[in-house]
Amino acid sequence: MAYTKRENSYWIFSRELKDSNILEGEEKPYVITPLGTKVKRILITGKITHKSSDEKMVKITVMDYIGSFYLTGFKTGFSSEISEEMDKFDVNDTVVIMGKINSFKNDGGIFYFSINPEMIKKISELERFFWGIRTAYVSKRKIYAITEVHKDENATEETLVKLGYTVDEAADAMRSKKYYNDYDYESYLNTVSAINYETPEENKTDENSNSGNTVTLNLDSFVLDYIKNNDFGPGCKYDDIIIAASNAGISREKLDEILNVLGSNGDIYEVSLKRYKAL
């Protein structure tokens, strides 16, 4: 059976896309991410935190472990079928999405990316967990390869392959060095390493587990970790914390109380109006 070569679907966290500012190609350009991934299509999972739908389009926001992806489906034209699929999902559903990246650059040179889904399916928390673990693994290997390239000025793709990296990882590392020489890889690595994979479902007794153990979610730690992982400079937005807390079953009142406690303990501070930073 003959198969046509298809465009790879890369597993990346939202931050890798959000931090991208290089496009390659004219008509349907590839996005070059800070980790060197040359990508048109991605495969992501997450929880739906926002959905709006009218007669023209469906817009969905999906939160992965460290940020959000923005999905758009048009109800006319060739993508009408997938937008109908998108319309079936609601806030709090956990989904897997494969889709193509659409990029937009404003007058200020800021890039915005949205995803046009080709596949959207409801999945379990366990499947999401698997995606998170594997995406962290893939991201870390890319960063380790990039570190090697930065250590040795004369490093080539061949050098990296000899060190045990795949040809693709080696190419990504070289691309990353070329386009994002000053990127803060350490911050990215810290963010990925600090992901708290505990989910609201794990807070309850796991029905699939033979042990029947209950995993207790530490609410203070959950909020603190979220602020740490979602502060990309100007502080983590209060509105984003509300959404994440709501998904974790934490009421707004309880969240305010936690923020007060974290503030008085010196774990966080309000850097500007409704923006928090961890200390």
């Binding site: 059976m1 198969y3 298809r6 790879n8 679907s9 597993w11 495969l43 897997v96 494969m98 596949m119 959207i120 399916k121 999945i123 366990l126 499947e127 967990f129 698997f130 995606w131 673990i133 594997r134 995406t135 693994y137 893939v138 795949t166 693709d168 699939n208 587990s209």
Partner: protein, 353 residues
């Protein structure tokens, strides 16, 4: 100089050797088509692979020759002997030479047709005895598998019986290809040793990008990202097992037809994607359907696959196959991923840190 004395790359070697095999290959370069020769040479101390850009026509396998001005170079991690226009090949008519066969110990995932004889160690499984007649003689062949921590490979043993679930070291196993997968065979000159107290981990968990050869019985985990629209029930001839596209088998019009499942889909594990083909042995247990219920669910198979397989994370045991230099897989079993699978994945991910 003897072969076992060649330890490094060398540009000026004089050797007396026996040519063990001569193969030729044509390559297209900017200067047009060129033929080069390759194979094995040996002496009393060992065996070495060679490449000859020029080779005297009368020299053939079995001849003893003296080689002057040859060189060795590392290729794919091992030394290889090269003959070029400067190299002199002097035939020694009538001379004989005993060759010490040395076989490099290979993991089963690493075996390839480039190295025709290897030494491997693995657990023998599924061996079945079969008798056949050749030239009026009754002969016995044992067919089964040999597996180590990297792959499971089909194994044929001509005459030598191997016990299932025992670990053997096999020196001089012949490498060949069968049904787009690698195969090993044990012949008269192959040495077989039982290895006691061997502990081999047969849980072969890999990421797709890590597999470059047609390895057998490998566990992979990933999301199913496409599902072939023609996946579903097919009819097969009960005699030749070929799929039937018309009402009866053209070769066996009176034979019964049996129902089977043919499904094709793509799995992506974050490191790479791969095409998969799965039949009823893999699909029925995954969909919780008994073999005798196929007819009952015939019309629902595609929608069941669409609901349960497409877009979901699964663990699969697969055989990688290679065709036209492209890998794809035949699926042996499929299951939904569970916590234990992810725990193992985390351990595996951390083991490389």
């Amino acid at each position: 100089m003897k072969i076992d004395e060649i330890l490094n790359e060398n540009n000026n070697l004089d050797l007396k050797i026996k040519i063990l095999s001569v193969d030729k290959r044509e390559v297209t370069t900017s200067k047009g088509n060129t033929i080069y020769y390759y194979g094995l040479v040996g002496d009393e101390t060992g065996v070495l692979s060679y490449t000859a850009w020029e080779f005297p026509t009368p020299v053939k396998a079995g001849d003893v020759v003296e080689i002057k001005y040859a060189r060795t170079k590392e290729y794919n991690g091992r030394l290889r002997l090269y003959f070029d226009s400067k190299t002199e090949v002097i035939l020694k008519p009538g001379e004989t030479m005993d060759v010490k066969n040395t076989y490099r110990e290979e993991k089963l995932q690493e075996i390839s047709l480039k190295i025709p004889f290897v030494s491997v160690t693995g657990k023998v499984t599924g061996m079945v005895k079969k008798e056949y007649n050749k030239d009026g003689r009754n002969l016995v062949i044992y067919n089964g598998f040999i597996e180590d921590d990297t792959s499971r490979v089909r194994l044929s043993s001509f005459g030598k019986e191997l016990e299932n679930n025992k670990v053997y070291k096999i020196k001089g196993a012949k490498v060949s290809e069968f049904n787009k997968q690698m195969e090993l065979s044990i012949g008269d000159k192959t040495e077989v040793f039982l290895v006691n107290d061997a502990n081999i981990d047969l849980e072969r968990n890999y990421k797709i990008a890590e597999i470059t050869n047609p390895a057998g019985s490998i566990n992979i985990m990933g999301f199913v990202i496409t599902l072939g629209t023609k996946s579903g029930i097919i009819k097969r001839c009960s005699i030749c097992n070929k799929p039937i596209t018309v009402s009866v088998c053209p070769d066996h019009p009176d034979a019964k037809t049996v129902l089977d499942i043919f499904s094709y889909f793509t799995v992506d594990d974050g490191t790479k994607y791969i095409q998969c083909i799965a039949g009823k042995n893999a699909i029925l247990p995954f969909l919780n359907i008994e073999n005798d219920e196929i007819a009952k669910y015939a019309g629902d198979i595609y929608s069941k696959l669409n609901d349960n397989l497409y877009g979901h994370a699964v663990k699969m045991n697969v055989d990688f196959i290679k065709k036209d230099n492209e890998l794809s897989t035949r699926v042996n079993s499929i299951s939904s991923i569970n916590r234990e699978d992810i725990k193992n994945d985390i351990l595996l991910n951390n083991s490389g840190d």
